[in-house]
Amino acid sequence: MSSNAVTATEPLIRCDSVYKIFGDNAKSMLENSGGVVDASKFQLAGCIVGVNNASFEVHAGELLIIMGLSGSGKSTLLRCISRLTDATAGNIYIEGEDILSMSNKQLIELRRSKMGMVFQNFALLPHKTVVENIAFPLQVKGISTQDSIQRAKEMVDLVSLTGRENYFPRQLSGGQQQRVGIARSLAIEPDIWFLDEPFSALDPLIRKEMQDEFLRLQGVLSKTILFVTHDFEEALRLADRIAIMKDGVIEQLDTPANIVLNPATEYVRKFTEEVPREKVLKIESVMDPYNADEDVSELKVSKDAIIETVAEAVLNAGKPVPVVDEENNIVGLLHASRVVNVLFGSHADHSAELTP
């Protein structure tokens, strides 16, 4: 899950000023507005603004989460990128190809080879069993029944549903159904994986379990992922980067730590207020520069460790703790006071203190 692995190459997904406006005369209104879209003005004319000037890039292997409350346009944006709906204006490139100008045939080809999607309410085919559902994308592609079922059985094992191959969706629990949905979306080995609020319809305990499962899968598969959710904690837990949307506009797009530490707008700040930072922040974001003169402890911590996991050890160390990177080079020092601050300090003046 390293976000800066392939920055030099063309991003896998690139959105350029994407607009999606619902309504009969959306297109002409948008042209007249010159790119500055005022949602309330459009609403008076009977148009609803779904996505308002979204521009961003997603790199191969990156997990971008689109976060927002209901009606913020996050699902619409996802559907524009998968072209389940056509964007009203703007360009969307996948591997450098403009998908808005693709013919239906090209689009089907793209979906058959490169895209997979998981849906909030699972959207399993009720008349097909677990394996049949998973084999479905393979079968529409024209792969023989025998091969596709074979592959589907492997996927069943991957999502730990072994033994339930012949169940119908209605015979499964919500969590199990979503496992089927995940297996189906991965059956064709897509490069890009879309997840539209995949765990929102599940109970909290199951949701946690599914998030772990998701992280495990991503650890194995390293897909490029666009993940939509309305759950900020889920976003913080899973994302490489988070795009926070409100009324169709992307308010902020940054790493979880930066969003928590430096919310760009008031709206984003409200979300971050209640977040337990020790669970989100990595050591890296609170460490001080390394000073060779200081007396340091024997203990070393990784710069990528979450504060919560090492807090007790650091506080017990009694001396500043050296922070190391993947190659075990010391890159900074962690003072206990910083950790105490994160754990117990009031959130409001926290950010002020932490900004260098």
Binding site: R79, N104, R112, A123, L125, P137, S185
Partner: protein, 686 residues
């Protein structure tokens, strides 16, 4: 006063009723008084229709056709050739299926010609012994579902054979086996088209509305003119009649699908065709299967009616048996029709629900087990038939084909039963019959006929206005105006009177029985099963027992209508009451309601939209049965439609009469549906 009027609909309705009665009293009955009866301005419409049909059929767009008889090209009208080729194809298909079951020579003739067939007497297609057909059906039942279905299907066929109805049953079956798939296919296509295309939906919707309320008979006449008489005409009329519900339910099912399903299909890489065939239709199959079920029911319901234009089979026999008042025979034939309906329904349902097992590692014998068993059954059946030809040297080979009416029959038993009922209850039945006719039916009929047209319009449009505003009032007015301008207003009033009385009785029974049964889960399940069973019966069947009891009178018709039309009233009541959410029951209980209060203040208002739709269905059912009642003998629109069947230029009359019936239904439908929708919105049920 004015404010109160605006507030309270009951008050408005009372005022309306008073004005209506006043008008009734004031307006004098006279031929020239337009307020009494409108002049029949569109009297000529049937003639115009007749002429246009004649023109299209025999004069429009002449094309050159090669006639092999005179070896020359001849000018023939396109439409005629077109319908003739359709007839030919359908007739061939029906004959083909029929001859597989019953044997014959026509299929061979189609490919060789009569001359060849006459010269080669050996070239006859032998019938399958009935044992083989019954066995094959049972195997099919087993393969699709399991031993229970196999047993049922097998027994059904044995019954048919043993009771000597094999030949007409197979004739009927062959015709249904062609008509039903065609209807399902057409319905699916049209439904999908309407789902994909807004304009198509806008065109189809009103057509479907009319088609569903048009009486069965009215389809027969145009079909007869365009396609002639015979099995194919019956099949075509059946297709026209059975397709609309299929279209309706297909649209309904597809519209109900969550968008995510479509999206999941698209993201799985489906092209349009795959999306439709593999995702949308199977996912919507619950409703689509109800459509298939409807199609099969309609096909069987049309069996009797199609026999009026020459379809062979059970329908024809049933009609004859009814005309000869042979109740026992009619009953046995009726059971055959019902059995075929249930068998086809269950088999199609099992087929749609069948699943494949990909994991079993099967040997050749296992994989082809059903074909192999069929092979065995086939051989055994033929051997039995050959043995039979030695055993039953004289007369009929009961192991090959049991000839018509040569099986066992319980007719004498039933006839004795009818006689016994007549002997025992003659006076009771007769006095009830007389009382009912004299005290109830005749006064209501007279009252209906003495309504001035202006008063009727006021009442109907006023009700429409109170319920749904100007729009509904105009719709209702338009429908009535059409009827009033034909020369059949009085007949329409008679139809309306029969329908009203029947609907009142049906709704009362339906709501009372439905409510009582909904009080307990066991009785609920029981009543729903009863409704299911009754809905499987073609409407005709209801005529048999009532004629048994009341002979050929209006009472018989009315009772048949009531029995037939109570089913939807009952079903919708039960379903409406069941749809009341549990939390409301709990809230009611905690507020301390007793049973009656619960029903009055919680269940009834909450299930009102359901009830209104139930009444709507009751109206539709009643109307269709009123028209079928014409076969017993009534003097309403139905009777005229029946008459125009035997009229050479009956197309126009039949069509306009049919529209009149349909418009009565649509006017009521308009009011009830608007009302139901308003309540639904008010209750937040939408």
């Amino acid at each position: 006063m004015i404010a109160a009027l605006q507030q309270h609909k009951y008050l408005q309705f009372t005022v309306l009723l008073i004005v209506f009665l006043l008008l009734c009293a004031i307006i004098t009955p006279s031929e020239n008084n337009w307020l009494w009866r409108l002049p029949p301005l569109i009297k000529g419409l049937p003639l115009i229709i007749n002429d246009s049909v004649d023109y299209i059929m025999f004069e429009w767009w002449l094309i050159d056709v090669y006639d092999p008889e005179i070896e020359e090209y001849e000018q023939k009208p396109l439409m005629n050739q077109f319908t003739r080729s359709i007839s030919g194809v359908i007739l061939f298909l029906i004959e083909f299926v029929r001859e597989i079951m019953l044997g014959g020579v026509k299929t061979i003739v189609t490919f060789t010609g009569w001359d060849w067939a006459t010269e080669n007497q050996w070239a006859r297609w032998p019938a399958l012994p009935w044992t083989v057909v019954a066995g094959a059906a049972a195997i099919l039942g087993y393969a699709l579902s399991g031993p229970r279905l196999a047993l049922f299907v097998g027994l059904a066929f044995v019954y048919i054979a043993v009771f000597g109805q094999w030949e007409p049953s197979m004739e009927t079956l062959s015709f249904v086996l062609i008509a039903a798939p065609v209807s399902v296919f057409l319905g699916l296509m049209l439904g999908v088209w309407a789902f994909r295309n807004r304009v198509a939906e806008m065109i189809l919707n009103p057509l479907l509305n009319v088609a569903q309320i048009m009486p069965h008979f009215s389809y027969l006449i145009p079909v007869m003119v365009f396609f002639g008489i015979g099995d194919h005409a019956g099949a075509i009329a059946t297709v026209i009649f059975a397709t609309p519900p299929m279209v309706r339910l297909t649209i309904l099912g597809l519209k109900k699908l969550p968008p995510e399903v479509t999206e999941a299909g698209m993201m799985s890489g489906c092209n349009n065709w795959q999306l439709l065939i593999k995702v949308l239709i199977p996912t919507a199959r619950r409703d689509i299967l109800i459509g298939v079920n409807q199609v099969i029911m309609q096909c069987l319901a049309m069996v009797v009616i199609a026999s009026l234009i020459g379809a062979k089979g059970l329908g024809n026999d049933l009609l004859i048996a009814l005309n000869q008042l042979r109740i026992g025979l009619a009953l046995e034939i009726g059971v055959c029709i019902v059995l075929i309906a249930i068998v086809l329904d269950r088999l199609s349902l099992a087929w749609a629900n069948k699943q494949t097992d990909y994991f079993a590692d099967l040997s050749f014998a296992q994989r082809h087990k059903y074909s192999l068993i069929f092979g065995v059954v086939f051989v055994i059946g033929i051997v039995l038939a050959i043995i039979g030809s030695f055993v039953f040297k004289e007369g009929f080979n009961y192991l090959y084909l049991i000839p018509h009416n040569k099986g066992i029959t319980t007719e004498t038993f039933w006839q004795a039963g009818v006689d016994w009922i007549w002997d025992t209850f003659f006076y009771t039945l007769k006095s009830f019959n007389e009382w009912f006719i004299v005290e109830v039916l005749v006064p209501v009929k007279t009252a209906y006929l003495s309504m001035p047209v202006a008063a009727t319009f006021l009442l109907a449009m006023g009700t429409g206005f109170i319920v749904g505003g100007m729009r509904v009032a105009l719709y209702v007015g338009g429908f009535l105006l059409f009827i009033a301008l034909t020369e059949w207003w009085d007949r329409a009033l008679i139809t309306a009177y029969l329908m009203t009385v029947a609907v009142l009785i049906s709704t009362t029974i339906g709501i009372v029985v439905g409510t009582l049964c909904a009080q307990h889960p066991v009785s609920t399940r029981f009543i729903l099963t009863v409704c299911d069973t009754f809905q499987t019966f073609p409407s005709f069947i209801y005529l048999i027992p009532v004629m048994m009891l009341f002979g050929v009178t209006d009472t018989s018709v009315l009772i048949a209508i009531v029995v037939y039309a109570t089913v939807p009233a009952m079903r919708y009541t039960v379903e409406g009451l069941l749809s009341v959410p549990e939390s409301l029951h709990e809230a009611g209980s905690m507020s301390g309601v007793n049973r009656l209060q619960r029903w009055m203040f919680i269940e009834l208002p909450m299930s009102f939209p359901h009830l209104a739709l139930g009444v709507n269905q009751t109206v539709v059912f009643a109307l269709s049965m009123v028209i079928i009642g014409a076969l017993i003998g009534t003097d309403d629109l139905g009777q005229l439609i029946l008459k125009s069947l035997s009229d050479r230029a009956g197309v126009g009359n039949g069509l306009i009469l049919g529209l009149c019936v349909a418009f009565i239904g649509l006017a009521i439908d308009q009011i009830l549906r608007t009302w139901a929708n308003q309540r639904k919105q008010a209750l937040g049920l939408d």
